[in-house]
Structures are given as structure tokens and as C-alpha cells.
């Protein structure tokens, strides 16, 4: 039902003329309020120009507008547009969402070029070919020839897009998986299995009440959860009981994980609300 409402609100399907007029009026009021709030903030002493280094753009209506201030207004507008989805799907949310996807993709491409392709391949190897062979320039330094191998393997990955050459990508994948597995498996077995099993066994200490309790909980938890995941015998009788204890441990663990997840998501929301109140609206904080 809520989804249907959202869809209808977003597309405006099935609207009467009066509803459409009301919707447009609501949009105009929201935009007007946002504009008015920003004008007031810019006019307020200090406004968005607290940093002396802020570059002055222009001074309309007694306000001091800086690039930093404009950035804050744009960020606030986009934040509110994205949060507007909580009420219902709407055009502002869609615009902000599409902008986010587009900017994100563009940013990733630029990063991929500057962080990886240019820094790791073009500068140490390819630029010598381009500038010496094609442009006839003399470039100081020597090309790093060993980069030819990863470059070719990287090009092989792109062969997946050509049906006849698809087989070439398997060489690159074989290299990546082989190297990755060879490096990771021994190290992760050591770090995530052996060291932790060793400490679980070594942790049987009864020198203090809390330590002893912790040891017992750890021991019962590990054994009962292992038995819950042991499917070669039927979970009946004593095995069924231990298996049920295992389920309780798992549920408590999921609950703890979910609690931490709520905490994390709330922190992101708190961070954003604080930013809106302090950095955008510049409301003084009490206490």
C-alpha cells in the first residue's frame, strides 16, 4: 500500500486538476522556504563565511556569499531531497538520486584513471611510448618494462566483451585467483582459524570469577554452535538440547550484530542532522 502511494506520489498518475495544483503549490512553498532560509543564513553575521580564506563571490541583499557557502547550500538541498523519500517518493528525491549515481560513477572513473591507470601504468610505462614513439619527444628516465605483463593481463580481462576472444580473459582470472588464493588461504587459516582456536583452548582459566564465567560461556557457545551445524546425526535427545542452546547463542549473536547495525545507522543520521543544524542552519547549541 505504502509502495503504491509512493509510486502514485512520484508519478502523479490519476491526479485531478485540483490535486495537481495543490501538489505544485506545496512544491513552490517548499522551494520558497528553502530559498528564504538560505537568504536569512547568508545575511546572518558570520553566515557561511566564517573562514577568512573563503572566496567572495558577490554580496546581494547585504549577504556575503562565498563558494564554501554555496557548497553548503547545495549539500543541504541534496540532503533534504534524499530524506524526502521518507515521506513519499517524489521528483526531488529522484533528481538527487540520479545526480548521486551519476556523480558517483564519474568520480569513480576519474579516480580509476588518476589512482590506478595513470599512476601505475601510464606514468611508469605507457607515456614513454606515447611521447617518444608517437610525439618524438625525449622523456627523462627509463620505462618500467616489467609492467608489460600486468598490462597485457589487464587487457585480457577486457576480452570478455568479445565472444571470440573471451577465452583470453580466463588467463587473467587464473592469475588473479591463483595469486589471491595462494596468498590468502594460508594467512587467513592462520589468523582466523588456528590462532583463534588456540586462544579458545588456552582460555580455560578459573583464576577469577568473571574470567571463569567468560571461559564457560565461550566453551559452551563454541561447542553448541558447532553441534548445531553438525548435520550427520539427528538433532534429538542430548544432541538436540545442545543444538537448541547453539541456536540461542546464534540468536544472541545476531541480536548483538543488529544492535550494532542500528547504532551505526543512527550515527550516520545523527552526523547528518548535526551537520544540517550546525553547519547549514548555524543554530547555536546549548549546553
Amino acid at each position: 500500500m505504502a509502495d503504491a502511494d509512493n509510486a502514485a506520489a512520484g508519478t502523479g498518475q490519476g491526479e485531478t486538476g485540483r490535486q495537481r495544483a495543490l501538489r505544485l503549490a506545496a512544491v513552490a512553498v517548499l522551494l520558497g522556504t528553502f530559498a528564504a532560509v538560505n537568504v536569512l543564513i547568508f545575511q546572518k553575521e558570520g553566515g557561511h563565511s566564517l573562514r577568512a580564506g573563503g572566496e567572495l563571490v558577490w554580496k546581494p541583499l547585504g549577504a556575503t556569499v562565498t563558494w564554501e557557502g554555496i557548497g553548503i547550500v547545495v549539500a543541504a538541498g541534496l540532503t533534504l531531497a534524499l530524506y524526502s523519500f521518507l515521506y513519499a517518493d517524489n521528483a526531488f528525491f529522484k533528481a538527487a538520486e540520479h545526480l548521486y549515481v551519476g556523480v558517483g560513477l564519474g568520480y569513480s572513473l576519474v579516480l580509476a584513471w588518476f589512482q590506478y591507470i595513470k599512476a601505475e601504468l601510464y606514468v611508469p610505462l605507457v607515456k614513454y611510448w606515447v611521447r617518444e614513439s608517437w610525439l618524438g619527444e625525449q622523456v627523462p628516465g627509463r620505462p618500467d618494462w616489467k609492467l608489460i605483463v600486468p598490462m597485457i593481463l589487464g587487457l585480457f580481462l577486457l576480452a570478455r566483451f568479445v565472444r571470440r576472444l573471451e577465452w583470453m580473459s580466463r588467463w587473467a582470472f587464473a592469475f588473479i585467483i591463483g595469486l589471491g588464493a595462494g596468498m590468502s588461504i594460508p594467512l587467513f587459516i592462520d589468523a582466523q582459524v588456528l590462532r583463534q582456536v588456540e586462544q579458545t583452548i588456552a582460555a580455560v582459566r578459573f583464576d577469577a570469577l568473571l574470567v571463569a564465567l567468560n571461559t564457560l560461556v565461550l566453551l559452551v557457545g563454541v561447542i553448541s554452535v558447532l553441534i548445531y551445524f553438525y548435520f550427520s546425526i539427528e538433532h534429538r535427545g542430548a544432541v538436540g538440547l545442545v543444538s537448541k542452546i547453539g541456536i540461542w547463542f546464534l540468536m544472541i549473536s545476531f541480536g548483538a550484530s543488529f544492535g550494532y547495525t542500528v547504532m551505526g545507522r543512527m550515527a550516520l543520521l545523527v552526523g547528518r542532522v548535526q551537520w544540517l543544524i550546525q553547519d547549514w542552519l548555524r543554530i547555536p547549541i546549548q549546553g
Partner: protein, 372 residues
């Protein structure tokens, strides 16, 4: 009782928004008892001697910044206050700019900042004085021969929360918010500040003198691809893995790398991670090259890291904003996380109340043969 199961979700959003908004506007203090995992990271860094090397891997992007930025700043403040050498880097390509900004801004907080001020009995008097000085450089005019209020100067290091020297009248109480603002303020910036006990202060930043030097006290290496392979490469040679820093300056000539050839020469590593790089640092780095490390992480990841802490593979965990709040308390510099925790606590209480109410509605409906 069916209505309890059909609460409009928008009402819930509104309640959460109010629960976060009000404590943000009217803050209150909460009792705090740092947890052992956070103390584990703090005491490991506290045990280091000045000049020892802390490697900070800031592996997050702006999406996780509200959780990880406060703890990153707190750990860096702790390190710089102890005069450790800090080598910072990131595994996240989207996090390069953010990580660099956090390091540079924290370094700026340790500048020696000369603040000139005049004290007034009321806000009105302070504003009149500011109006009278309009058009003049406030930083020079304040406390000058024509001072109206009780005048003075103070040299502070905002990041360390300390006053190096002062002269003239009693300065305002250096609240965390004021120190935070002064830490980033440019020379010439001014502010009107209320001290509940002493009155109103008109203050201006006269000058800043850097106390930490790039390449000597700290360095930002930027990012290179590879994660596990990069860590192994750093374990073999730091300079082969990072021949240059983020700005392209050769690392081999930097004094901050004195005595640091491989990861094994690092005295402590703190990984502040939104993803799985903490586990990668343990598996590829700490276990293989034998250096102590701790992890700061988003709350979502924290439960997965407890086995590492219990097994003694890491000295501690700083989990989410709560962990950052505890860390800020331990170093005695309340900052961003301390500001966030009241709002987060009230929001948690609202969520708990809603869960309880909805479950009550569910069980009551079921007892009456209603919705299942």
C-alpha cells in the same frame, strides 16, 4: 491493539528525527565508563615513547565519516600529543581526500595559536566594541593601547587542549567547541564568546605557528591498490610499496621514516576501517610481520572483530561513535563523538520503546486471535 501493528512509518521517522534533533540543540552529559576494548587501544598508544612510529590506516570514505572521523581525529590527537611519528595512509581510493584532510586539520590543531582578546560585562558592550573596530584588523586592534575591556593574549595548542603562555587579563575558559573552532581558524578570524563565569569575550586569532613538520613528524602516503598484496609489499619494504607520498615526494629522504624499513619496524598500527581492511591488516600484516595493532571500525563491523581481540591478535577495538566517545574521554579531549552521543542515546531509547510497543501489540493481538 491492532493499531499498534499499523503505526504509520512516517510517525516513526518523525519520532526518530525529534529524538535526534532535540538533544543536538540542547546537549546533556552522560556518565561514561570506558570499555576494555577501547582501553586496549588507548593504553597501547599511551605506552609508546615520543619518536616511536604509529602507522594509521584510514580506510573509509565520506559515507562512513560520521562514525569513523571522530575516532580518527581522537587517535591522531593522542599520537601527536605524545609526539609520536605518524605515517598515515588509506586503502580506499575514495578516501584519499578525506584522510588527507583529517590528518592536515589535526596537525593544524597543534599549531601554536596566538589569540588576542578583550573581556566585557555584556554582549552588548562586546558588540559595540566590534562595531567600533569595524574596518580595522581586529587581531591587531584587540588588546592594543586603546583597549576598552580587560585585554590580554594567550598562546594555545588547541589539539593538545593546552595553554602555552598568556599575558594580561584572564582568558575565557577554553571549551572543547572553542578549541575546535580555533584549531582551524585562520589568522584574522574573530569570534564573540560567552564565558558563563567571566562574561563576554571578543577574541581574534593573531597568528599561527606550525609545531608539527611534514616529512619529519608526520607523512600522508595516499593510496595504492592491492590491499593484501600491498600489505605484504610493505612488510618487505615500505619504500618499495610507497616510493613517494601522496604528493609525489620521495619517502626515502623523509626523517619520519628514520629506522622504518618494513612493517616490522612500526611500533603500533591503528586501522580505522569501514570495510574488511582491519581483518586484512591482521592476516597479512600483524600475524606475519609481528607488530601490535588495534582496530577502529564502524559499529556494524565491531561484532566480527571481537574474536581477534579475545584471541589477543589485536590490542583493542574502538567500535562506532560509542567507542570514539570513550576514546575522547580517555584522552581528555571531548569533541565530535561527545557531541553525537546524547542524540544517539535518545534515538536508541526511542527505537527500544518502539520495539517494545510493537511486540506488545503483536502478542496482545495474537492472544485475542488477531494477526499472526
Amino acid at each position: 491493539m491492532h493499531w499498534l501493528l499499523r503505526i504509520d512509518r512516517r510517525l516513526i521517522y518523525a519520532l526518530v528525527a525529534i529524538a535526534i534533533g532535540l538533544p543536538t540543540l540542547w546537549r546533556f552529559r552522560l556518565p561514561i565508563a570506558p570499555s576494555p576494548p577501547v582501553e586496549g587501544v588507548h593504553s597501547a598508544i599511551e605506552a609508546l615513547e615520543p619518536g616511536q612510529v604509529l602507522l594509521a590506516s584510514l580506510d573509509f570514505d565520506p559515507a562512513s565519516a560520521p562514525e569513523l572521523e571522530p575516532m580518527s581525529r581522537a587517535v591522531l590527537r593522542h599520537a601527536f600529543r605524545k609526539r609520536l611519528r605518524v605515517i598515515a595512509m588509506t586503502h580506499w581510493p575514495q578516501g584519499v581526500g578525506l584522510a588527507n584532510q583529517i590528518v592536515e586539520q589535526t596537525v593544524r590543531e597543534f599549531d601554536e595559536i596566538t589569540v588576542a582578546f578583550e573581556r566585557f560585562a555584556s554582549r552588548q558592550q562586546a558588540e559595540q566594541r566590534r562595531a567600533a573596530l569595524a574596518g580595522q584588523p581586529l587581531a591587531e586592534a584587540l588588546g592594543g593601547p586603546a583597549a576598552v575591556g580587560a585585554a590580554g593574549t594567550a598562546v594555545i595548542r588547541a589539539g593538545a587542549g593546552s595553554v602555552r603562555s598568556r599575558s594580561g587579563a584572564e582568558p575565557p575558559a577554553w571549551s572543547p567547541a572553542l578549541l575546535q573552532a580555533l584549531g582551524q581558524a585562520e589568522p584574522g578570524s574573530s569570534a564573540l564568546v560567552e564565558d558563563p563565569e567571566r562574561g563576554w569575550y571578543l577574541l581574534a586569532v593573531r597568528e599561527r605557528t606550525p609545531s608539527l613538520r611534514y616529512g619529519e613528524d608526520y607523512v600522508f602516503l595516499g593510496q595504492r591498490a592491492g590491499l593484501g598484496i600491498l600489505i605484504v609489499s610493505m612488510g618487505q619494504s615500505m619504500h618499495a610499496a610507497f616510493p613517494a607520498d601522496a604528493a609525489g615526494r620521495p619517502t626515502r629522504e623523509m626523517p619520519v621514516f628514520r629506522g622504518v624499513e618494513t612493517l616490522g619496524d612500526v611500533d603500533y598500527l591503528i586501522c580505522l576501517a569501514a570495510g574488511n581492511s582491519g581483518e586484512a591488516w591482521v592476516a597479512y600484516g600483524a600475524e606475519r610481520y609481528k607488530f601490535p595493532m588495534g582496530i577502529g571500525c564502524t559499529a556494524v563491523i565491531a561484532p566480527d572483530l571481537y574474536p581477534y581481540w579475545q584471541a589477543g591478535q589485536i590490542t583493542g577495538i574502538v567500535g562506532g561513535v560509542k567507542g570514539a566517545w570513550e576514546y575522547e574521554h580517555l584522552i581528555g579531549i571531548p569533541a565530535q563523538a561527545t557531541e553525537m552521543v546524547p542524540a544517539q542515546t535518545v534515538a536508541h531509547m526511542v527505537v527500544i520503546a518502539l520495539i517494545a510497543i510493537c511486540n506488545l501489540g503483536y502478542f496482545l493481538s495474537r492472544r485475542r486471535g488477531g494477526a499472526r
